[in-house]
Symmetry: C2
Subunit: 205 residues, 2 copies
């Protein structure tokens, strides 16, 4: 692209580094910001700098937090004996949005992926084992993505945790609510038949 | 969305204000930035702040520029007698990318749009008239979008400029190169037949 301004080019290049943002979109975003008041743009920039400078990871669950211990871990109402293991902070938010879970979390910070050079030691797995060892845990829910990395991590976690004799569960897989059978992929449909459940179990009590 | 962190929420809200960026995309972008080094995020924020603080509009053509007079207006090789009138800086870049234009520009800063409350006085039209009056201009090319606002602006500009007895042209409309006739809209196809040109004229000399 032919920029008439170095300042503009720099800003477009910064936006263009973000995932899913190409040069044309970056230019549109920068021109939008240029149309804003100076104070608004300063707030945009400073909010990001402040975020990176001040954000912490919860010492217990490694979730993104403003404090040393996150809101969820420090909430007296949450069941500390149930730990839901997730990949990242986005998954915590997704589960929190369901309003169906009242335990606490453990954020792995990724999934085991030899292809990307991510091994167990790059994740917070040792911390999880330590946490299970030192606190009273009644159930560990493994809520990981259903892909190769997720399955590998699931397998590794199960191996590491099975000797504690604590129930280890995974989230239910199957046809989505509102999903039409004919559009479901064969693997999901096949597995959802093989792992069928008694009708009474599907009623929310 | 349920944020575990106020800092995170603020950053997501700032990104969410940008056009075409919803909350989920904003969260993805913020989490991406969180994964970067502190220096990189600081650079991102500071580049935007610097852009807004230091950027100028060219005194002659109103294009975005680092200096009082933009690169194009100050280039000795550009034909100052040919002025291409465009809506905004993005159009200047698009035309520059073609490498087919060697004149200078005039950036209106928008199009006349009574629906959005944008009248002629909100644009740089008076400056354009002044520029045509005080400098030697041989041709004015009106390169505006082919929509209602573009047509309104075209009509207004023509009325303002016709008394100077300078050739006023508009960019050619028609079927795009590589475009299939059957997929062209009726208006474009109809107009491209009505305004057909001698074959010899279409050969680039």
């Amino acid at each position: 692209m032919n920029f008439s301004s170095k300042l503009l080019e720099d800003a477009v290049n910064e936006f263009g580094k973000l995932p899913g943002i190409g040069q044309k979109t970056a230019l549109r975003l920068v021109l939008h910001l240029l149309g804003k008041e100076q104070a608004e743009v300063a707030q945009f920039g400073n909010t990001l700098i402040k975020l990176k400078n001040e954000i912490k990871n919860c010492r217990v669950c490694h979730n993104i937090s403003d404090y040393d211990i996150c809101n969820i871990c420090s909430a007296p109402k949450r069941e500390k004996e149930v730990i839901c293991v997730v990949e990242d902070a986005r998954d915590v938010m997704a589960i929190e949005n369901t309003n169906q879970y009242f335990g606490v979390y453990h954020v792995l910070g990724g999934l085991i992926s030899p292809m990307d050079g991510i091994g167990p030691s790059d994740l917070t797995i040792e911390d999880l084992v330590e946490r299970v060892k030192t606190s009273e845990v009644k159930e560990i829910i493994l809520a990981l993505s259903a892909n190769m990395e997720g399955d590998t991590t699931l397998f590794y976690l199960h191996k590491k945790l099975k000797d504690f004799n604590i129930p280890i569960t995974t989230i239910a897989r199957g046809i989505a609510f509102g999903g039409e059978l004919e559009y479901a992929d064969e693997v999901t449909l096949g597995r959802s038949i093989a792992t069928r459940v008694p009708y009474e179990n599907t009623l929310i009590k």
